[in-house]
Amino acid sequence: PRARVLLRLKPTPSVPGVTKTHNLAFQECERLQAVFSTRQCANSLCAPARVLAEAVVHFPATLSEVTLSAGPGGKISLRNYMEDEKEPGRTMVTELWLAEDEFQEVAVAPGTCITFCLKEFRGLLTFAEASNLPLTIHYDAPGRPAVFTLDDPLLEVHLVLATLSDPESISQSPTANGASELPAPPDDFADDLESYMIAMETSAYEGGSGAPPSPTFPLRTPGPAHSKPEEEEEEEAVPGTPPHKKFRSLFFGSVLTPGGPCLAPTQEVLAEDSDSEY
C-alpha cells in the first residue's frame, strides 16, 4: 500500500492551464507466466476483429460459452453452447457460418471444434476492434487452452482461455446442440438455402415420435439416450489445463520467453481468477 505511482497530466488544448496529478497506490504482484504455447496449437484462424465482432453480435449478451467449429468446405461456425441443459428442447440454438475468405488465414483441420467463454472473448474483441488489429485464434484439442493473439509493432497480446473438455466433442460436435451432421451451408445461398434447410430437416433426429403430443411446451419426443457433454465427475487433469468446467483466463502483454515455458507443467491452478463468476 505504500508503493505509489504519480501520474502528471500536463495542460492540453481542451483543458488549458490545468495540470492534473494522480497519486495512485499500487501493489506489486508476482509475475505470471502461463504455461502455453501457440506452437502447440494445431489449428489457427486469423480474421479482422470487425468480422468476429459482427459475428458475436447475434448471440445474446448473457450467453456464457460459444462453440467454434471448422466445418466442411472451409466454413467456420460459431454456435451457442448449452450448458447443463435439463431441457434441450427449450433453448434457442443460434449458429453463424463464416466463409473461409472472410478470414485472413485459415489453418484448421475440418471437424475440429472448441468451446470457450464468450464473455472474455467479447472483451478482447472490443479492444481489438478499437485498435483495428486482426485477431488470431490458436487452438488444439478440446480441453487444451485456446490462445487469442493480437499482433502489432508496439504490443503483443495473448488471451488464454480454457476450453471445455468434452469427450463427445473430441470426435464430433455435441449432439445436444443437434448440429452434429449439419452440412455447412452452400456458397450459393439464395436458392440453395432451400436444399440446405431440407438437408437440415432430414438429417435432424427423427423417429420416436410415437409419444402423444403434449399441449404443454415443449413438445417432447423420446430421443436417443445421449449423455450430456458436460460431466460432473472429476476427470484426470491434463497438465497445464485449468480445472474442468471453470474457465480461467490470463491476459498479459509480455512476449513469451523463447525456448518454451520454463515452468514444468503441473496440475496446480496457475492463476486464481479474480472473477468468481464461473
Binding site: 453463424l96 443437434g178 403434449s214 399441449p215 419426443t221
Partner: protein, 289 residues
C-alpha cells in the same frame, strides 16, 4: 397424423427494410414469456390469452402473410383444418428477427431438430464472395387440435363508448410521466370525441384532456353496441387499468398506426384496436377492481 410430420414449410423472403412482424413480436415479447403463433393459409396470428401470468391482458394480432412474404407455404394437420398452432417464446423470435434487420434474405421454416423448431435462416451481406448465414432454431410446442378452441378470436365487447385514440406518441409521453406517480390510470371517454387520462394519488391528481378525437362509426347491429345506443353524448365511460399494461402497448408502437381506437366497457375492460397497413392488433386490458 403426427403434428410434427404434418408441419408446414413456411418460406418467407424479405427483400429490404425492417421486417414488419418484428415490431409486433417485440410488443408481444414484452407482455409474456410464451405466446401462441397460429398459421393459416393466408394469415399469421400472435395470440396471448388472458392468463393470470399476463395480468389478464390478452392480445390478438393478425398479419396478412401476402404483405410480407414472397413465398408462403403451409400444410396444416388436415385438409379441413389447414392451420398450425405453435407455442413459442416470443423473445426468441424477437431476437432472431433482430438478426434479420439487414438481411439479404430470410427464410423461416418449421423443422424438427432435437424438438420441433421454427428455424429462422438469415443471409447477411458480407465482404466475401459468399454471404454470412445465421440460423436460429427456436423451439416450439405444437398445440394439438383439441385445444384450438382456447385460441379463438375474441369478440368485440359490448362497449359503452368507442373513440379514436390521440396521436400515440403524445399519449405515450403523457402516460410515461404519469407512470412515475401512480400504478393505475383511469381512461375515460365519451361519444363527443373527448378522452381524459387521469391519475389520482393522496398527494396529487393529474388529468390530461384530449378533444375532437372522433368516435368510430360502428355499423349498427342488433347484437352489439346496444350499450352505446341512446347514450348521452357527454357521459363518460371509464375504466381504471394498470398503467404498465397500457405503457407496454404504447411503447411497442414504432410507427403510427393507420387507425387507433379503443372501446371502453365501463369498469370492466378496455379494448384497443390498432390497425397498420399489414397488421391489426387487438389488446384487451381488464379494469382493476
Amino acid at each position: 397424423m403426427q403434428p410434427s410430420r404434418a408441419a408446414a414449410r413456411v418460406v418467407k423472403r424479405f427483400r429490404c427494410g425492417v421486417l414488419p412482424p418484428a415490431g409486433v413480436v417485440n410488443t408481444v415479447a414484452r407482455l409474456a414469456k410464451t405466446c401462441t403463433l397460429r398459421l393459416t393459409a393466408d394469415k399469421l396470428y400472435f395470440i396471448l390469452s388472458d392468463k393470470v401470468a399476463n395480468g389478464g391482458v390478452s392480445v390478438w394480432c393478425e398479419l396478412c402473410q401476402g404483405n410480407f412474404f414472397d413465398e408462403f407455404q403451409m400444410e396444416g394437420v388436415a385438409a379441413e383444418h389447414n392451420e398450425i398452432y405453435l407455442e413459442l417464446v416470443p423473445e426468441n423470435l424477437s431476437r432472431a428477427l433482430k438478426t434479420a434487420q439487414n438481411a439479404k434474405t430470410v427464410k423461416i421454416k418449421l423443422t424438427n431438430k432435437h424438438c420441433p423448431c421454427l428455424t429462422v435462416a438469415v443471409e447477411l451481406p458480407s465482404l466475401s464472395s459468399s454471404s454470412r448465414i445465421v440460423t436460429h432454431d427456436i423451439p416450439v410446442g405444437v398445440i394439438p387440435r383439441r385445444l384450438w378452441n382456447d385460441f379463438r378470436e375474441p369478440g368485440v365487447p359490448d362497449f359503452d363508448v368507442s373513440i379514436y385514440l390521440p396521436v400515440l406518441k403524445t399519449m405515450k409521453s403523457v402516460v410515461e410521466r404519469m407512470k412515475n406517480l401512480s400504478n393505475c390510470i383511469v381512461i375515460e371517454a365519451n361519444l363527443s370525441g373527448e378522452m381524459n387520462l387521469k391519475i389520482e394519488t393522496d398527494l396529487v391528481s393529474v388529468t390530461t384532456h384530449f378533444k375532437d378525437l372522433g368516435n368510430p362509426p360502428w355499423a349498427s347491429d342488433d347484437e352489439c353496441q346496444s350499450s352505446a345506443q341512446g347514450r348521452d353524448l357527454e357521459s363518460m365511460a371509464e375504466a381504471r387499468i394498470d398503467i404498465k399494461k397500457l405503457l407496454q402497448l404504447l411503447a411497442g408502437q414504432q410507427v403510427n398506426p393507420t387507425k387507433a381506437l379503443c372501446n371502453i366497457v365501463s369498469r370492466r375492460i378496455v379494448h384497443f384496436i390498432l390497425l397498420h397497413e399489414d397488421v391489426s392488433l387487438q389488446y384487451f386490458i381488464p379494469a382493476l377492481a
